[in-house]
């Protein structure tokens, strides 16, 4: 018999936008609410609510994640792979192009 799972508590984090993300949103930073144990899809979904202009250009249309050419970094230190993120209130995600260098 399946157990009923209580919804995970949400945490408020900041997302700093760089490059095209900043240009299309017209903002450098936004706040979003996501589960403390979030997937990249959770982050993409929350971001899409706050910044719909990101959908299609940076966030996949089905909100399953980011386009390959974008990447997230947690607090300026840890690059985020496709797995789950453990987020604390006050954390900051950086969203920028994964095309490094030049």
């Amino acid at each position: 018999m399946a157990e009923h799972q209580a919804p995970l508590p949400l945490v408020t984090i900041q997302v700093e936008l760089f490059g095209l993300a900043q240009l299309v949103c017209g903002r450098r930073q936004v706040a979003i609410d996501v589960p403390g144990s979030a997937t990249v899809a959770d982050v993409a979904t929350a971001l899409a609510k706050t910044c719909p202009a990101l959908v299609g250009t940076i966030i996949r249309h089905d909100l399953s994640g980011l386009h390959e050419s974008y990447i997230l970094n947690l607090n300026g230190l840890t690059f985020v792979a496709q797995g789950c993120l453990t987020l604390q209130p006050g954390d900051t995600l950086l969203l920028f192009s994964s095309q490094a260098g030049g």
């Binding site: 490059g19 095209l20 050419s69 950086l94 192009s97 095309q99 260098g101 030049g102």
Partner: protein, 616 residues
């Protein structure tokens, strides 16, 4: 032969001798073109131990099998010589119509040696060579030189020239072509100046046949579509300037001569800010569909300056010098282009001087009254002009940071930010550990482009703040990948548009040349090219101690940002270097076993009598 002309044009400026030598299929398949073929030719034609400014040092321009194919980003060429900054291999890439014109003129490579008895304009017209008097162009900036020569020889003529900096043998002088594109790193413009060669003008009408043009066209169309997709979006939007704000946030933006890795005033010189306030248009090289170039203009009441701006120029002439005025950064970059200066080496050398000035090692008397303090906009612009003219303090700084610090002494070598004599690019190695290794072992000195090792650091593949021996394999693979890119030659900004660079490039190579080649053969060509580069350096005196980083990087921790307290010890760097030598199959001293030379089919090249004078 398809895809190649199959020959090298050789010119001796001293004797005005001109002759052709064949390039065999065996050589072309092993070294492809661009940097690879150029390395082969440099190894062959550069007399061992020659001084970079000696007439015998060859200056080599090399095209590639892709040139003329109309594939996106394929109009590029390489320039190789023994570098006057490093004394090791010097190689740079440039792009646009000069590449296609050289091929149409009938040569895969142009090798120039000797020294002209008069200021020379070397004019090549479908393989016919003239030695014209370039006296009227002396002292002209690069744009005026190109413009004036085109007025004389025709607008379809393609021109590669030096500015004042090249004429005055500034060791990091660039060669400029097609309206401001630069072969700049490692100072090939200074070697051109030493040859008394102000410019090369090329016209050609020949067509090099392609083996299977229909198949190539189909692939090219698909590649063009991908070049307009998400894989290049960053470059099409803000260009490489997008790095500024991100690097600052990650603590990897070298600031005030690498004393810090964050810049408090980044918002004034970020790509986003420049795009909103200084952007004029995007531009692109010939046959490029990406168009990464950001043309920016000044907006203040001073003299108008307008030109291309890249991340490396913005970092080196902005945060590295404590300069936050975007108009000044744009002016400084366009001034470097006009004088024919490598912006990275110019900025890093001036940063060294500013630190010397602030520490009292250089005085107003030394600088001719110039207050070379960090953040002094006017001093930066005046200093660049002095360097270009080799006047006053500019004469010392024209030598580059290594020689200038050795001449000044008094401990200033500790903050001369170079590797092997080549000034550091805008990647802080303490907070990018894979890049630290890439910079330390690169054959051309502190270079980010010949390994692209930063790619691993800017991903979830590694922890960029930690070290391990695995970075050796990552760096080696990046170097070999880059060598193939730089030899075919593809623009690096196209690299993510390939699903599998080796497999797709092998197919394209076969369609162009008719020579079947396996993807693994291409990968091995990358390894072969990097190995021959290293062999050249060994022949020119490389020892293990040359694979290192500036003392500051190995003794000081970063003081600000998310990387506060992060450093890099010599032991950690040495551990990564050993991992790199091991991955390459080299000895613990970084030397190359004979078996490796056999495996890579280059033992014959090494055993050839390099002292035999190849020129009449």
């Amino acid at each position: 032969m398809y895809g190649y002309n199959g020959k090298t044009l050789l010119v001796n400026l001293t004797s005005q001798a001109v002759w052709w030598e064949p390039l065999s299929a065996h050589v072309l398949r092993r070294f492809i073109g661009g940097t690879g073929l150029g390395t082969y030719l440099l190894y062959k034609y550069c007399p061992p131990g020659v001084e970079p400014f000696d007439p015998a040092n060859p200056l080599i321009f090399v095209g590639s099998p892709l040139v003329g194919s109309r594939l996106t980003t394929s109009s590029k060429f390489a320039v190789l010589t023994k570098s006057p900054l490093t004394g090791f291999i010097g190689d740079s890439l440039s792009s646009s119509f000069m590449a296609t014109e050289l091929k149409k003129a009938g040569c895969d490579a142009l090798v120039i040696t000797g020294r002209s008895p008069f200021p020379c304009l070397l004019a090549i017209n479908d393989g016919a060579v003239e030695f014209l008097d370039a006296t009227p162009y002396l002292g002209l900036n690069t744009m005026a030189t190109e413009h004036t020569i085109k007025e004389r020889l025709g607008q379809r003529t393609r021109v590669a020239c030096i500015g004042l900096a090249g004429e005055r043998l500034v060791r990091y002088a660039s060669i400029t072509n097609d309206g401001g594109r630069q072969a700049a790193r490692t100072g090939p413009g200074a070697v051109m100046g030493a040859k008394n060669l102000k410019a090369i003008a090329v016209r050609g009408t020949r067509t090099v046949p392609i083996f299977n043009a229909d198949a190539l066209h189909a692939i090219g169309t698909h590649l063009t579509q991908r070049s307009l997709g998400p894989a290049t979006e960053k470059y099409r939007t803000l260009g490489t300037l997008a790095n500024v704000a991100v690097f600052n946030r990650l603590g990897t933006l070298p600031t005030r001569n690498f004393q810090r890795s964050t810049f408090d005033e980044t918002a004034q010189v970020s790509g986003e800010a420049l795009h909103q306030t200084h952007f004029v248009t995007n531009a692109h090289c010939a046959n490029c569909t990406i168009g990464c170039e950001q043309i920016l203009t000044t907006t203040d009441s001073g003299p108008t300056a307008q030109g291309r701006m890249e991340y490396e120029s913005a970092f080196a002439l902005g945060p590295l010098l404590g300069v936050a005025n975007a108009n000044t950064v744009i002016r400084a970059s366009t001034l470097c282009d006009a004088l024919g200066l490598d912006t990275i080496s110019a900025g890093v050398t001036i940063a060294w001087a500013m630190e010397c000035f602030e520490k009292g090692l250089l005085t107003l008397e030394d600088t001719g009254g110039l207050a070379l303090r960090f953040g002094n906009d006017e001093a930066l612009l005046e200093c660049l002009q002095l360097i270009g003219e080799r006047r006053g303090i500019g004469d010392l700084l024209a030598e580059g940071s290594r020689r200038a610090s050795q001449r000044l002494g008094r401990g200033s070598e500790a903050w001369a930010m170079h590797v092997k004599g080549l000034e550091m690019p805008g990647y802080e190695p303490r907070s990018l550990k894979t890049m630290a290794l890439g910079l330390a072992v690169s054959t051309r000195g502190a270079c980010h482009n010949r390994s692209s090792a930063y790619e691993a650091d800017f991903s979830a593949r590694v922890d960029r703040l930690q070290v391990d021996t695995e970075r050796g394999r990552i760096t080696m693979e990046g170097e070999d990948f880059s060598a193939v890119l730089d030899s075919l030659i593809w623009c690096k900004f196209l690299r993510k548009a390939f699903h599998d660079l080796y497999a797709e490039s092998a197919t394209i190579y076969e369609h162009i040349t008719g020579w079947p080649i396996a993807p693994e053969e291409l990968r091995q060509a990358g390894e072969r090219i990097n190995t021959l580069k290293k062999l050249f350096n060994i022949r020119e005196g490389w020892t293990q101690k040359d694979d290192t980083l500036p003392p500051r990087v190995l003794t000081e921790t970063l003081p600000t940002g998310v990387v506060q307290g992060v450093g890099l010890t010599r032991a950690d760097l040495d551990m990564m270097i050993q991992g790199y030598y091991c991955a390459r199959g080299w000895t613990a001293e970084g030397l190359i076993p004979e078996q490796k030379l056999r495996e890579l089919e280059i033992l014959d090249i090494v055993q050839a009598d390099a002292t035999e004078a190849p020129f009449p």
